[in-house]
């Protein structure tokens, strides 16, 4: 008797699920997310519909687009067009470039202050962090940092911005009120990405050539944990951590391992590496969907995006995009 009921319910659920799948308009209206991927060598952006998991269009932008972020309303995208020496503003509704911000030379990555008014960008060629007021389009200040500044992160309380410098091998901690460096932490060779945890107590930093990821205590600015990665059959020199993504529930940290072509899955409760997932070649940056069920990776050399199902911890799809996909941002569903 019991079993029968369960079977009935299963069948019913199956019908509902297939109805959901078969009715695209219904899905699109409520839950479609779009991934925007910058193609470094094609000077454009591929837009992926995450329901159909297909590229639906390409948008031309400036030369060598890399870092990309959205404003809070997700109506605009800010894109570092590195070789055009500017940050372009893309209107996500009309898909037109509607303006530019004065970025300084060779902007690579970009971060938005939680107040939505200030943008930070790292100028890789000039060893400078540029602070830009969005409304007036004016440079507020430029801060001298180490050689080849790269990874940027702003704490969610808006108090601190950090920048990593690739050749100086440091994390520079900057007070957002005074725009002055308050501390420097030496890390492994060629630091790339930095990410604050939700509670702003810890900062995760990847070192590409050092082959490590460190977790730094924000109060003391000291390294409290170091991860080194071991993948069977891949020489440790080829394991080069770049992009980091922390899940909002505090459970996982994902680390893109560059030419090792894998993403490391770290359990943040046990602080142990749980798994390595094979993705495309030279995996760069990562982005989680809003509901945290899927992780997307940009794979530079193979020119595609891998989609990882978090519940299954499996790569479920790879999608061909342009040449050298680099940055990625996900536009959430409209509620």
């Amino acid at each position: 008797m019991k079993i029968k009921t369960r079977n009935k319910i299963h069948r019913l659920l199956g019908i509902i699920a297939s109805l959901l799948v078969m009715s695209p308009t219904f899905v699109a209206a409520t839950s479609t997310e779009y991934a925007y991927v910058t193609n470094e060598k094609d000077d454009n952006i591929s837009v992926i519909d995450l329901d159909t998991q297909q590229v639906i269009k390409e948008i031309s932008v400036g030369q060598r687009p890399r870092g990309i972020i959205f404003n809070d309303q997700q109506s605009l995208a800010y894109i570092c067009a590195s070789d055009s020496d500017r940050i372009q503003i893309l209107d996500l509704d009309t898909e037109e470039i509607i303006g530019e911000l004065p970025s300084g030379e060779d902007p690579e990555t970009i971060a938005l202050h939680p107040n939505g008014k200030i943008i930070y960008t790292s100028n890789e060629d000039d060893a400078i962090l540029t602070v830009i007021d969005i409304e007036s389009s004016l440079v507020i200040t430029q801060i001298d940092v180490g050689v080849e500044p790269e990874g940027l992160a702003v704490s969610s309380n808006g108090e601190i911005v950090v920048v990593t410098s690739e050749t100086t091998n440091m994390v520079h901690w900057i007070d957002t009120k005074t725009n002055k460096i308050i501390a420097n932490t030496l890390v492994g060779a060629r630091p790339r990405s930095a990410q604050f945890t939700q509670d702003n107590k810890l900062l995760w930093v990847s070192s590409e050539i050092g082959g490590s990821v460190v977790v730094i205590d924000v109060d003391s600015k000291k390294i409290v944990k170091e991860f080194n990665f071991k993948i069977h059959g891949i020489h440790r020199d080829r394991v080069q951590p770049v992009g980091i993504e922390l899940s909002h529930d505090g459970h996982y940290a994902f680390v893109a391992l560059g030419p090792a072509n894998h993403v490391a899955v770290i359990n943040r409760q046990t602080m142990a590496i749980e798994k390595y997932l094979l993705v495309g070649r030279r995996v760069w940056q990562l982005a989680l969907t809003e509901d945290q069920t899927k992780l997307l990776t940009t794979n530079g050399i193979s020119g595609d995006v891998s989609i990882i199902d978090i519940a299954k911890m499996k790569v479920i799809k790879s999608i061909k995009v342009g040449r050298f996909p680099w940055g990625i941002a996900i536009k959430h569903a409209k509620n």
Binding site: D125, G146, V147, I209, K222, D237
Partner: protein, 380 residues
Amino acid sequence: MALSIKDQSINIEPIEVKISYLKLQNQQGPALSNVIKTPNDSGYQGSRLAINDSNTTGKFLHQHFSLTQFEFKTTPDLLQHLTQAFNQGESIFVLNAPLATLKQINIWAQNKDILLFNISEFSDLLRNTECLTTFLHTAPSYAMKTDALAQWLLYRRLTKVLLISGKKPVDIAIATSFKRSAKRYGLKIIAEKHWSFDTDLRRSAQQEVPLFTQTSKEYDVIYVADHTKDFAQYIPFNTYLPRPVVGSAGLEALSWHRVIEQWGAAQLQTRFNKLTARYMNEIDFGGYLAIRSIAQAVHKTHSTSAKIIENYLRSTDFELAAYKGRKLSFRSWNGQLRMPMALVHPQGLVSQSPQAGFLHPRTDLDTLGFDKKESQCKLH
């Protein structure tokens, strides 16, 4: 918790690091293909850029690096300056000088608390038999270059080689190096020819070279050993059989070239162009690597002592990020910096060695050049 990254806390006592760049002016003989010249300040400009980069980092650590350049006409002049500077307390020197000069310096420097870098001499002798115990080499050896090419030739199944070399001792040395690589990787040298023309080939290469490259057996590829590029540039496209040319012309194995752009190299190339209004070459890169190695050691140890810096550089803790996509370190047995080699033609990057699949128990970078068991150098 055991952390491999030490010195997180930053010492604030300021230190000044003085480095001298010593160059012996080279008297190069006339070359037939003298169209493209190597800039005279090669090496120095790369070192200068590294000083700028190191000072950017240094300002956060209260460390300052300075570089002074000296040029000499003769080895005794250079040695005299070196002795004086050392007696006045200087201990870090970057050398752009040939084999004979380096050997004399090495004899003088025995048992001295001194740090010396060879940024320009590729000779295999210095890495194998006549080991310079007081030097670290940031210039690759000929063996690293010929191994890099031999791996690629094997990968491409171009295994039958016609070897052409010039008459100068250095050309013979390069040819010898290639023969070692050919043996190591199972390539077959089907014929060996020595270039002995003394006419100006600029106008007659099209007639002469096809005859010169005619052999009784077929070849897949031609290896040219011609250090000064006296004739090498006239071999490609003029060969009897339509075959690729590698070595001193065509496809070259270099530690640096202007076409390298991956792994952040684009940024280094841009900084170099801005500083010098020219392209960065292999000798510049040797200078860059030497200064960056010194600076990296000073950042980590916060010391100006030549001994402490050298111990750190020779230790397994040292790893240098140098726009090659790999961490570089010094070989303990002969002081050679291990690094990938770029395989380039004048306008583009073709490949990077070590090639995939050439394995080594320590690191595949040690498939290039003299390995521990092979080298007679036993420094450590």
